[in-house]
Symmetry: C2
Subunit: 334 residues, 2 copies
């Protein structure tokens, strides 16, 4: 295992400290916890938003803490759900008196631990709601999930629900906004290589030199199919057509798209996929209104990518384009 680490036990703890060193104007670490919260003072009366999950998906989720997105992010160990007490600490950090929305990717451990944390918050009189993200259309049930998994599309929920919270919407309304994002979104990924979880010390799976895996999750869970290496054009088309079908997109529909690197895949290759997407979308008469290309939800140093399509209406488009200022995603006033 070749990694720039000291010990496998201290990876996440040290990295959280490093995030604060890199982004002191955005982030503070809640003492004694694995919670990164906004460095700026709380505003009373706004709905707070918390997300989180296992580490290894950076910039998710600490990179999305800041104006217009999250109030706090809770980090578990690599590919491991954060414990309920950590999530509870995140809820408290995000509470401005108007309740807290939890954005949870659909993995059994995350769902359970965020649920227990809600009970703890309930005991404190903090109202909570959950948006459960299950955008990965590849598999119905998986090693770690009942139902679909949550992957990169989670970032669209952060962004759009975050904009609604900044507008002053109440907890029920912010949850409804988040749920509507989930209902209008579909993702699918693929891998060219595995990644190595520090605590395991060896790659999670093996792929031959001429193989790729379609429908891979963000933890090296099995996908739906091992196939011979496809060209950029072929794999982009395969994912795009599948997602268009899942969302029943029709000519004239407006979408936002996320072309997400799983970690090791260079920007050059993402850009080639993006060029093809544009061509396929034009051919289908679908309007690519906003394109997000880069590393948004990674799997350590896995090579591969995922594609997310989000159907836009006027309000979602406005909220997606609203000013946000976080370490990993900044949308400036134009």
């Amino acid at each position: 295992m070749k990694k720039i680490i000291d010990t496998v036990e201290t990876v996440v703890d040290q990295a959280l400290d490093g995030m604060v060193v890199a982004y002191p104007e955005y982030l503070m670490r809640v003492p004694g916890t694995s919670v990164l919260a906004r460095a700026v003072p709380k505003e009373d009366g706004r709905v707070g938003i918390v997300s989180g999950g296992g580490s290894g998906h950076e910039p998710a989720h600490g990179g999305y803490v800041g104006y217009g997105m999250l109030d706090a992010a809770v980090a578990g160990e690599v590919f491991t759900s954060p414990t309920p007490d950590q999530v509870y600490a995140g809820i408290k950090a995000a509470d401005h008196g108007a309740g807290v929305l939890l954005v949870v990717k659909n993995y059994t451990g995350d769902v359970m631990n965020f649920d227990i944390a809600r009970e703890l918050a309930d005991g404190d009189g903090i109202a909570t709601e959950v948006v459960l993200v299950n955008d990965d259309v590849a598999v119905q049930d998986s090693l770690y999930t009942t139902g679909r998994r949550g992957i990169a599309g989670t970032v669209f929920v952060h962004k759009i629900a975050g904009a609604a919270a900044e507008e002053g919407a109440d907890l029920g309304a912010v949850k409804a906004v988040g749920d509507a994002v989930v209902a209008n979104m579909a993702s699918m990924g693929f891998a060219l290589t595995s990644c190595t979880v520090p605590a395991n010390g060896k790659p999670t799976f093996e792929l031959a030199d001429n193989e790729m895996e379609l429908g891979i999750g963000i933890h090296g869970e099995p996908g739906i199919e091992r196939v011979p290496m496809m060209s950029a054009r072929e794999v982009t088309n395969t994912l795009f057509q599948r997602l268009v079908g899942e969302l029943s997109l029709a000519r004239g529909d407006r979408v936002a798209v996320m072309v997400n690197s799983m970690g090791a895949t260079p920007a050059l290759e993402l850009a080639i996929m993006t060029a093809h997407l544009n061509e396929f979308a034009q051919h289908a008469g679908i309007v690519l209104e906003r394109v997000f290309m880069g590393e948004f939800m990674t799997s350590l140093e896995m090579a591969g990518a995922s594609l997310t399509l989000l159907r836009l209406d006027g309000q979602r488009a406005t909220r997606l384009g609203a000013v946000a200022d976080t370490p990993a995603l900044r949308i400036m006033q134009r």
Copy 2:
């Protein structure tokens, strides 16, 4: 070779198109060239700035085209200097009537081709100046260079010279600002793995499972030393002490630091390095005034990182923090 591409011949051309699809509000491609220029209309009377070089270092350099940084970026094939006519097209795209500064990394091919392009521009009456970036302290001469190589610190030149150009400084002044950045900056990198140039189809070099290479360049050029794998703390300390010595930094000095992934190294590992840097800087009494952590100047999917230190004075600090709005680096009004 596992890459998301169609053919090795079309990698750069397709990726340039994809960049424009992803960032239409920032970038346009000058027709028939490998030049990405600002999508917004020119402002007359401002000094233009052009950078460029081989592709494979994304987000360098197209990702730095935009307000407060570059006017145009010229892309060569992967790890190959752009031809003089391409550079010349970049100069023309960046010319607003006040001359054009070329930011050139010190590689023999780049220096030669940018030089020929200057002659072409001279024939058109476009005044040009060059800032030659040679921040890599690892090796004095290399496979591709006479003197030191230019690596990730180049991005600091883009940012600070870019701010001076936006202020309305004249060509000589913008060059002087850029030269002063180079004079006060030092970088050094290391690799855990090689990368694979598409046209070669196999890794440029091999490293054993327990080896790393110190002083690596951004094209897989040899470094200064193969050493057994070091811990994050050890390698960060090794680079930091070397750079502090090179710049003769003393207690009370203010610096900006860039912790740059070579491509495959995850943010988690960069953050661990950053946490150590903070500790070492505090111990040395050096003020880490600004930290840039992420992918700024990559080598395809190489695993490893580089560290850059830039000595700050009041003016460089102000210009480094000035508003910029580009695909890869956005600094918002606070």
